[in-house]
Every structure is written in C-alpha cells, then in structure tokens.
Amino acid sequence: MVEIEPTPHRFPGGLTLPGHKAALQTAPIEVLPLPDELVLPLRQHPGAPALPLVAVGQRVEAGERIAAAPDPLTADLHAPAEATVVALERRALIGAPDAQGQCLVLACAAPGSRGEPPAADPGAGAIDTPAAQIRRRLAAAGVAGQGGAAFPAATKAGVASASQPRLLILNGAECEPYVACDEALLRTGAAAVLRGAEWLRRAAGATAGVIAIEADKAAALAAMAAALAATGWTHWRLQRLPVRYPAGAERQLIQLVTGEELGAGRLPAEAGIVCHNVGTAYAAWQALEQDRAMTHRVVTVTGGGVARPANVLAPIGTPLATLIEFCGGYTALAHRLIVGGPLTGVAVADDARPITKGTHCVLVAAPADLSNPGPERACIRCGDCVAVCPARLLPQQLLQAARRDEDDELARQRLFDCIECGLCAHVCPSHIPLVAHYRRAKALVRGRQRDAAAAAQAKARYEARERRLAAEAAELAAAREARRPGRPAAPSEVGQAQDRRAAIQAALDRARARAQQKPADAPPDEEPPAS
C-alpha cells in the first residue's frame, strides 16, 4: 500500500469552509443523453477565438476537428458527436449578461443516445513516447485545463519542459465548496487519471510527481492510493492537503506541497513546477490511450435550486438548461444560476448558455445557499479581509485604490496578484463586494494598457507618415529647383545638350540632302552636307 503523506506546509490566509458536497461524494458519474443541439463557442481559452473549419450544412463525425487554434493559447475544437453544422452565429455565453461570441451550432444526428461512462480499465501499456510527440497529440486532441481557465495542456507542458521542471503536481484539491467533479473522477477512474498524469509528467519532462488531494476526500485518496500501488511507480507520491480554501489555487497548492511561496510575478515554471488538474489528466489519458479528443467533461450540477444534484458527464457545448433538466429540473427554491463555484463563479442571466471546456460546476443556488448580504455598508477597518487573503494583499487599501482607479496606487497594492478567490468579500461584515471591485479595476487597467499600446502604435505610424511626407516634399522641391531656367547647367548636362543639338543638326542635314537629290531645281539654302 502506498503511504498517504500529510503535507507539513501551510499557506498564508485561507479559510476552512463547509463543503456542501456530501451528497455527491458517493454518487456515481451520470452520463447525459446527447442533447438535440450543441453550441460550441469559438473562444473558450485565453487566446484568440478558434478558426472554424466547417461550413454550415456540413456533416461532421464524432471527434472530428471543427475549429483550429490560431495561437498556442487556444486549443483545437472537436465535434462531441456525429452532427450537422446548422449555424455559425453569435450566441449568449457564460459571463456578463450581455456576453456574446461566435459559436458553431451542431444539430446532433442521434439525440438521446448515451455516451460512454468513464472507462474502468485504463490499460497498462508502457508510457515511453517522446515528450514532443505527446505534446503534439495533446494539442491535436484539444486537451485544455479543466480547472477553469482552459489553458491548453500542450502549451503548458511545452513551456514547462523548457525549464526542465522537477515536479508535476496533480491538482485534486478541489477546495471550493459545492464542486465535486474532480473527486468523482478520482473515485471512479483513479487509474486512468494516474496514467493521464504520467503522460502529462512525461510531456513536461518533470522528474517526479505529486498527487495532492484534500483530506475530506477519503474515497478519492483511497482509490488513488490503490491505483498508485497497482502501478508500482516510485516517482509518484500521494499527499493529503488540509481542508482549507483556496488550497487548489496554483500558488497556494505549490506552497502546500513544496513549502515554497512563489513571489509576486514569479511563474510556477520558473520554480520548476507544473500543475495540472485531475480532469485534464483524465482527458490526456483519453487522448493518448483511447485516441479521443476532449469533447466531454464532468460537470457538477448542484445547489438547493436543482432537484437531484449530480456529477454529469456532458458534451462540451451542452446548454445549461439541458443539464439542469437532466438533474430533475429547478426546484421552487431556485434563486440564482451561478457557473463555477460559489466564491469564484459568475452569475449568468439565463440558462440557454452552453458549457465550455473550463466549466466545472453549475450551481443553482437556493436562497439558503447564499448569505443574504443586505446593503453594502462602509468599511469599518476590521481587518478580517487581511487575515484571510492568501495572496498577502491589503484588501482595504486595494479597495480604496480600485475606487479611485489610479494605476500607480493599484500597482503598489499589487492588484494583479489578486487571485479572485473571493474570501475577502466572503468574510466582510460590511458586505462590500470586494472581488467585484477588483475585477472591475483589472478590466479598466487592462483596457488602459491596450489603449496605451494602440496610442504608441498610432503615434509611431503618424510620425513615420510625417517623415515620409516631408521627404516627398523635399524631393519635389529639389526636382522643381533643378528645372528652373537661368540656372548654370551642370557640366554633364552641357555635354548632353551639345550632343543632342549635334544629332538634330545631322538629321536636318540628311533630310535636306535627300530633298536636293530628288528635285534638283530646288535651291540649297546652305552648303551641302558633309556626309
């Protein structure tokens, strides 16, 4: 049996929150019947939108690539099932009420059919493909991070491999309340997840691996211990993390596992560490051992507002409404629809919006799931937010800076070190939505940075144009000057003019000679030609 090591390390701040996931900790993963329609947003990743490869009306096979990534920050998109492309149009997306984006809309050929549940037998072949080849296959399968940001796994591995990482951390912390999809994967498919993690470790060239799981997930820990024992791999360790939110945030996770606190702006790759989510590892296993693109994912559908909370294996592009209907529909208590966990998620305005590769949780909150924050009151400087901030920020000061919206002050308060974990707003006795202020401030600062870059470009082009116009004007003036009469001619011009005059004279003489020869009576004006 493999030893489950408790981690000796801690991270600053954080809070132990009630999990609200007991009901989902024993249930199996349920498979969603194929919906009639799938809506696949072209922008699901940090990079530019994917470029569609199919035309409206075209038939696509299950797993067929339907959109290509234009840059390494975007992953390829594949059809989850056999379907017909019925539209390429703007649809409402998860995010702000007016969030929209281009989507490929697929009408499934066999709606209602059931996909496959997660495989129980992960196989046992050797994992010895060269790293570059693994990364190519990960990219070809569109594997992207399932923890939320949907960062392409191949790019992450490629960037990490350049720095020869010492450690790959498989992130099974799943620290946010209500979310239970990673745990479900670990319980039911630990061996496949472990093999996927080994593929990812090889792809990044990391020398060792750690599987980190929060202590309240006993079944997941046991399943992973058994899977690890079965493989006999000695370069993998299994660690039990304290139940403390946000243990699963990248920097906090690294600190829990290694004891190293990454300074501001320092990337995990620079410390020789690469982190991957459990769901991503499972998708990597599917890509490399089953030759399947990342077209499905496990989503937790939960909260007091849904009749039968469940972990659902659903195709990417499934509308939220379909998921909720599958889970028994809304209850009378349904109050608010949140995509993502309760602390980091976003409220969405309607349930027609589709899930993406990064959607891990759909929370249909009942009033009891939400604290009733009441009206926002003035900050009383209690300091509770400072105590819980895992990024060692001063949330009150940051709030003042955000309200004043001054770039210098926001930079001094390290706005962009905020990981938006939501704890400051959660503990605030004055119900100040601090994270909302920070998100807004970040959006404004990024907008100004973009404007500044655009201004610099416009300025450079304007100045280049001014120089060109000045050069053209100078050239024109010089040419005009050259043509002006009464100007002493240059020696070469004098020579040319003489040559030209001589040639004209010779031609005239020849013409006259001819005229003299034919009509002999015509008197010559001048002496006969010399030739």
């Binding site: 609200h20 530019a48 702000a96 909260g303 309760p342 602390l343 009891a368 973009r450 416009a458 304007y462």
Partner: protein, 183 residues
C-alpha cells in the same frame, strides 16, 4: 543677531540672484514639455482639437496657445492629467462626447478605387491604389473619421471596434454568494 540676519539675508539674495540668472540664461525645456504632453494624448490624430495631429496640439498647449480640454477622445481623464501636469485648472471637455472605440470600414460593393481616402489617413491605415479596391487595417485604424469626408461615394462607415482578445467585460460581474449558508 546682526550676523544671523546678514548671513540669512545674504544667502537668500545669492540664491535668488542665481535663480534669476539661470532663468534668463538657460533655455526652457520646451521640447521635453511637448513630449510629456504628447505622451498623454490618445494619438488618434483625429484633429478634433483643431490642430492637424496630436503632436501639433501638444506643441500648442506647451506654447500656451491652446486650452487643455480640446481632446474628446482623451476625455475627462486626459484633462485631469494635463491639468496636474501643467498646473492649470481642469475644464470640462469641449466638443463631442467620447465615443466607444470605432474603426472605419470600407464597403467593398461601393468603393470605386479613387484613392482619395488614402492621403487623408493620418496613420496610413488604408491600403489600396488607383482603380483597386481599398481596405482599412482594423488593427491600425484609430477611428478618427478623417477618411469619411474625402470619399466621393460615402462608402466608408465607422463601426464599433471588435472586443480585443481576452476582453474582461465577461467577468466583471460577480456571483457573490456565500458558502456558509444552509444546504
């Protein structure tokens, strides 16, 4: 007492004299001021200020010939910055209200390839040649509207600029629930 008065008075007179001399002899840093003002301007080169571009406007401000509130694209934020930089009172922005970012778009059905819009563009964002279809480079266009009036067939329109990659508008709304409540 007298020594102290003399010493301090002498020091003051000497420093004052040196400063007066410096102010007269050393040239003012006009170009540096122009550059600092120009750095704050939005560089749309739209000429809404009445000057042919951002740099000429910056020169006019530095020379004290132009008020600081003539730049609608810069908006209130620019006036505040310039007021602080130049120690002048902040004024309300003159002219059109600041519009959201726009780019010019040429309707390919109507463009006759006359090339009249090409020299009007202050940032060379229009590509084309005589009797060939023109097009605007959207990544370079500043939305200054200067190409609209030369067009004889009115085939250029201004359209809202596409949201840039990673646009944060989608995530500014918080969910703001609590994790401690019932359930």
């Amino acid at each position: 007492m007298l020594a102290a008065l003399l010493a301090l008075g002498g020091l003051g007179a000497a420093t004052g004299g040196a400063l007066a001399l410096a102010a007269r002899r050393l040239p003012p840093d006009a170009d540096g001021l122009v550059r600092r003002i120009d750095a704050q301007l939005p560089q749309t080169q739209c000429a809404q200020c009445g000057y042919p571009g951002c740099r000429p406007y910056a020169e006019a401000i530095a020379a004290g010939e132009a008020p600081i509130n003539r730049c609608p694209p810069g908006g209130e934020r620019l006036v505040t910055t310039l007021a602080a930089l130049l120690d002048r009172p902040a004024l309300p922005v003159a002219g059109a209200a600041p519009a959201p970012a726009q780019v010019a778009v040429i309707d390919p059905e109507r463009c006759i390839g006359c090339a009249l819009c090409l020299p009007a563009c202050p940032v060379d964002a229009i590509v084309g040649a005589h009797r060939y279809l023109h097009a605007v480079l959207p990544a370079v266009c500043t939305g200054c509207e200067l190409c609209l009036s030369p067009c004889p067939v009115d085939c250029i329109t201004l359209q809202p600029a596409a949201a840039p990659a990673g646009s944060p508008t989608a995530d500014v709304l918080p969910a703001r629930p609590s994790a401690t409540g019932g359930g």
